[in-house]
Symmetry: C2
Amino acid sequence: MPAMTTRPQQGRRRAHALSKAQIVRAAIEILDRDGEHALTFRALSARLATGSGAIFWHVADKEDLLAAATEEIIARLVAEPGNDMEPKRAIRAVALAVFDAIDAHSWLGGQLFRNPAQPAALRISEMIGRSVQALGVPERALFNCWSALINYMLGVAAQNAANARQAHAEADRSAFLANVANRWAHLDPTEFAFVRQVADELRDHDDREQFLAGIDLILAGIGTLTRRADPSP
Amino acid sequence: MPAMTTRPQQGRRRAHALSKAQIVRAAIEILDRDGEHALTFRALSARLATGSGAIFWHVADKEDLLAAATEEIIARLVAEPGNDMEPKRAIRAVALAVFDAIDAHSWLGGQLFRNPAQPAALRISEMIGRSVQALGVPERALFNCWSALINYMLGVAAQNAANARQAHAEADRSAFLANVANRWAHLDPTEFAFVRQVADELRDHDDREQFLAGIDLILAGIGTLTRRADPSP
DNA sequence: TAAAGCAATGGAACGTTGTTCCATTCAAAT
DNA sequence: ATTTGAATGGAACAACGTTCCATTGCTTTA
């Protein structure tokens, strides 16, 4: 019996079958607890007590995994209320829900906007679109108003996610902001007059309010397209 | 003479000294030609006919390298005109300049917005801020108006970059858009009524116009904050 | 001019990652 | 009882960012 290279017998496990949903759930837990960079197939294998091969049987690649995780979170979010609301209120509600979701899962921002055409994300676009339509925006301007809102939402969202990632490296959020604010406050007074001026406000602003203010700004802009009746041209 | 493990003599090269600027220039060329994923220290070493060690002598790490590349592009952009312009025109000009830069260097979007507080990027924020101020926005609203514009700019920018990355995988841009539009057009008619409706417009819209329309929308929104004189409340 | 010091170089080596490969197992179908 | 094939777990691979280090040649010093 010459030395056939035979693998040592492997410990089997089939106690609870492995499923994509289970994998995605574990991935989300790792992402939420330890951050985006901590999600590796090895960490995931360890947590699920299996090998990477088994995971790849259920998942195409890492992008697929992250997409599925995003899908999962957004699906929970979309499954909520918000049928018959006044359009503006509806838009604010959807926007805030997205904002809060990204705030709670800092990895979501980068992901959601790396691929905003994901099925579940499309449902958000749909809700925004209908509300904009309900505002009475003229046909021509519809597409642009809709996309401006979506782009702004995703922009701030991902932006916040990026900040959260950096703030995680330092002590905490407020320390991080104070740090940035200080750096800004010491810039060249003539070249950076404005940035220096808003440095203070940066230090203790509320991201959520700031976000909503931007939404309202765009809504106000949309308002100028629709209210052609009241004032004179 | 026992076997000292001595390295085989290395070929030297000092024909043209290596500098950070030179490295950054080469990095930009790789990024522009072959995309973000193609910029590796090995590719960079090959192009500069050196070793990775030599590169790391001039550059802290990859993040530093990408930041420097971003800085380089933005610096060129900022070094231009735009002193005394009407505020709205100035804002549009800056925004379009940023948009075009990101359009020309598809990697720039993701980078610029992963770290929007980079020195050169701050100069853009400063220009926007001054213009917003010049519009006569009340003190309280200044910070929010400014950040809404910046966030929207970066949002669309990075969004476009993401699309460019995906479009690069497929044939070209228009084929990519047509593909997405087709997928949207075949969604469930009741659940995705709106998205289906705008699918056509997506197919042959102009990114640049769309971007500018969003800017104008925000500017219109800002206008409602400042024009308290003309119409009645 | 000779020696010493040191910024700079180039490439081997390291640790980690995403992914592939494959011998193996178990439950269902035959 | 046998065959089948979906599913498993872990070894192996390629590529990456980064570190390490023997070596070089310019510059400074004696």
